[in-house]
């Protein structure tokens, strides 16, 4: 046997029994003998090449007849209108989809060949209607709608040539448990396509995940517009897909845009929750949408649930006014942040930044001044020594010496130099005090003297010094008794008697020895003003004192209705204590633990802190704002994650 192209053939597949051109021609001739045929048949079953050859010949020689019973795919290479069929790529209730080649434009297309019984004249809504609707589709150009290039008839069957999309259906995509955000994005795109079709006056009638293609390029395209119409009256089983049909479709009413809304929402519901909204058994006349509230398993934004609930209303009139409105609402619900959230967060952050910036600036100032103060410290020390010397040289009187001592001791205490004052100086101070002719002095001068002495004792003395102080109590009381009530309650007096009181004795002693409520009250307030201690007993006494004061003055109307002079000092006590806490903070800020802050610096601190604190937001507000900002940021971040 000679073979025409044997030399070019791939030799491995060509056995000696393979058919050459002459053998093929012989086999196809009318007068071939049965034994010859049989031999070829047997060979065909085992040789792919020869079978391909014969199949190819037969395809162009023999016109295919419709097969009964067995389904048939159009063979590769079939000329369908101007297209050439390549491979079948999908099959559904409506017909088969083929990949095909358009030789005129040299591009690949998808050919949908409708089942021959669809779109035929048997249906009231016949082929012409289907064709006109398809032509409307072909005019419609939208990124989320499959592009229909061409529509026509071939062998009494209607076909569509559409853009060829490499990808898969939304159904397949959903089968992989997609995240709600992804599902929403895909459906938003599909919904946009549907809305565009509606605007062109085209209703889909059979929206479902199988009719939406997700291309490998990520683009979503809705397909099969309007095809369901033709099938409605032909075959109930393929007229739309029952699961996605709106109630009015079940009733046989005509479908409109709102019908598509319903189908769209069923499909989206399914994508989000993994099952379609099912009406509980027994619920006969639906008043509201089925499947609500939806299962809580999926993370679906509440706004989306509301969109679905409205779209799934059994009564079309209660659904969204248009697909556009539905898509807009869905898009809004899909956004993780509303504008008010962002504005609120911005305001909060701004306020927080503001108070911290203010605080930081104050801190900076304090630090700077503290540095300056530290540089001034040696100068202060020198000034103190000079002052004492000066006073001694000038030869002051008893009160003057005592005042000088008091001043010096105050400074020493403030600068942490208490050890500079000797026992001798203390003794001297006591001596001055004892020898002073207190009754001879004017009450104010007496008080001044007592105050100076008290300062020395309070600031410098150890516990033993209280022994010196005890005898001074009657002295002090005597002085105070001689002062008028009004003067006792004045700010100056209160401050003056405070220090010696604390230094001299426990307040109880004083309270015992004086019968005048005003004196007792003054003593308490004065003691408190020094800021040294404040206990319950004293507070009680304070209350009594104030009460007594009122009782004392109310009858003669002298102080009645007047402001309470006690209150401002009390407030200052509290304020000073509060500052004391902040000082610790400042101390830390400077790198020195507050408790260890040298008294000298503490003194400076106290002044500075009082200054710095004025006009600042309270620490409570500052930290509250900070916490609120953090919470707001965390909440926004959570929403971002939740909507991902």
């Amino acid at each position: 046997m000679s073979r025409l192209f044997a030399s070019e053939d791939v030799i491995t597949a060509v056995s000696p029994f393979c058919l050459d051109e002459n053998a093929v021609a012989r086999y196809l001739a009318d007068d071939t003998r049965d034994d010859e045929r049989q031999a070829v048949r047997e060979h065909l079953d085992t040789c792919d090449r020869c079978r391909d050859l014969l199949a190819g010949l037969v395809r162009t020689l023999v016109t295919p007849e419709p097969d009964d019973g067995l389904p048939r795919m159009l063979p590769r290479g079939t000329n369908l209108s101007r297209y050439v069929v390549l491979d079948p790529i999908g099959r559904g209730g409506m017909g088969v989809v083929y990949a095909a080649y358009d030789p005129e434009l040299d591009r690949k297309v998808a050919l949908k060949l409708l089942r021959s019984d669809l779109g035929s004249t048997a249906s009231g809504l016949g082929r012409s209607q289907l064709l006109s609707e398809a032509q409307a589709m072909a005019r419609l150009s939208h990124p989320n709608i499959i592009t229909v290039f061409d529509v026509g008839t071939w062998n009494d069957e209607v076909f569509f040539a559409m853009e060829f999309v490499r990808g898969q259906t939304l159904r397949t995509e959903q089968g992989r448990q997609i995240r709600p955000r992804r599902a929403l994005d895909l459906y938003l795109a599909a919904g946009t396509g549907l809305a565009a079709a509606h605007q062109a006056g085209i209703v889909h009638r059979d929206f479902k995940p199988d009719n939406v293609l997700v291309g490998d390029d990520g683009r979503v395209r809705v397909t099969d517009f309007g095809l369901a119409r033709t099938t409605e009256k032909v075959d109930a089983r393929v007229a739309g897909t029952p699961a996605y049909m709106a109630p009015e479709q079940w009733r046989g009413a005509s479908a409109d845009e709102r019908t598509d809304q319903y189908s769209f929402c069923v499909a989206l519901y399914e994508a989000l929750y993994g099952s379609r909204p099912i009406r509980p058994a027994g619920e006969r006349a639906p008043s509201g949408p089925a499947g609500f509230p939806p299962p809580r398993t999926a993370r679906v934004p509440p706004g989306v649930v509301r969109v679905l609930a409205r779209g799934l209303q059994p009564d079309p009139a209660q659904r969204w006014p248009s697909m556009d409105a539905l898509v807009a609402a869905l898009r809004e619900a899909r956004r993780p942040f509303r504008s008010w959230m962002l504005v609120a967060a911005a305001v909060l952050l701004l306020a927080t930044t503001g108070v911290w910036a203010q605080h930081g600036l104050a801190m900076l100032r304090v630090t700077r001044e503290l540095t300056t103060a530290a540089q001034r410290l040696p100068g202060l020390l020198r000034a103190q020594a000079d002052l004492i010397d000066l006073q001694a040289q000038v030869g002051l009187g008893a009160e003057g010496v005592l005042a000088a001592f008091g001043l010096a001791s105050n400074m020493d205490a403030a600068l942490g130099l208490a050890e500079n004052v000797s026992e001798h100086q203390i003794a001297e101070a006591h001596e001055v005090m004892r020898s002073a002719d207190l009754p001879g002095l004017k009450s104010r001068d007496a008080l001044l003297l007592v105050n100076s002495w008290g300062s020395v004792v309070f600031n410098l003395a150890d516990t033993g010094a209280y022994g010196f102080a005890a005898p001074a109590v009657p002295l002090l009381v005597g002085t105070m008794e001689g002062i008028s009530a009004d003067e006792l309650w004045s700010q100056a007096t209160l401050e003056r008697i405070g220090v010696p009181l604390v230094a001299a004795a426990r307040a109880d002693d004083l309270l015992l020895v004086s019968a005048r409520p005003v004196v007792r009250g003054t003593a308490v307030v004065g003691a408190m003003l020094t800021g040294s201690w404040l206990d319950r007993e004293l507070l009680t006494e304070l209350g009594r004192a104030v009460g007594a004061r009122v009782a004392l003055h109310a009858p003669d109307g002298g102080w009645a209705g007047a402001r309470w002079p006690v209150v401002p000092p009390l407030g200052r006590v509290v304020h000073l204590r509060a500052q004391g806490r902040d000082l610790a903070v400042y101390g830390v800020a400077l790198g020195t633990p507050g408790s260890r802050t040298p008294p000298g610096e503490a003194f400076v601190f106290r002044e500075l802190a009082a200054d710095a604190e004025s006009g600042l937001a309270s620490p409570l507000l500052r930290w509250a704002l900070t916490l609120a900002s953090l919470a707001a940021l965390a909440w926004l971040a959570w929403r971002r994650w939740w909507f991902r």
Binding site: F5, L44, D45, G56, T60, E65, L70, G77, R166, G175
Partner: protein, 301 residues
Amino acid sequence: MMVPFPHADTFWSRLPRMQALRTRPGIDDQLADRLAQALSARPGLTVEPRAFVEHWAGQLARAPEPEAEFDRIHLADLLLAFACGRGDPEALRMFRAELLPAAVSAVRGVEPSGAFVEEVTQQLLERILVSADGHPRILEYAGRGSLEHWLRAAALRLALNARRDNRRAPEQLAADSRWDAVAPTADIQLGILHQRYGPQFGSALKESMAELSSQDRSLLRLHFLDGLSLNQIGAVYQVNKSTISRRLSRARETLLARTRDRLERTLQLQPAELESLMRVLAPGLDLSLTSVLRSESGPST
């Protein structure tokens, strides 16, 4: 009374194995008749009768059963082929007008693009009409069957070879980029079944395919892969359509049953589950079959 056939000796001398036939009465007249008929069927050819008779006898001599071919030979076609081989202009004109379209249509069936058809046709013409050794391949035509069929077979083989050589990308759909809308199901449960067991179904189908008889496989391939209709398959096997229909149905059922058995073994499903699974998957059998066959036949199809 006819003149004795002048080329009888030339004819018989080339057929030593057929001397018995020569004794048949009136055989030479028959030869003369046939030659005259062929020449009148293809008028206008400039052919030297003696040379053609030589060619005729030579082709018969090459046949496996010369006697059987003697009566069936397509002499007019052989004459045309011979004249074409000799470069007769009229023969070439006839060839182009009557036969070439058939060849082109065979090529177009393989791939319709204009460039491909043109290229293969050009190649075909060079191969069969032009030759460096003075022996154009069209002279290989033996007159067994029609020249048109011979030419179609030659063209088709060339086209198939050419396609194998430069198989172009867009025609081959990657298996994973299908729309896989195989069987749109209204029931979500079944949809899940399909999703989950689709791959197992595919492989079970593939394995079951391999177990079928070569005849069944051939039938399924012709139908589902090559997409031939029943009457076309009948033409391939030279049997009638109903026989093919019967065999094909049987092959399909056998395949489905074996696939079912295989799935039952591998998936360990309850009978009811298996039934519903098959109910979902069976409608897509044709597409699945097509894709299995296609992946099996690979790039050599």
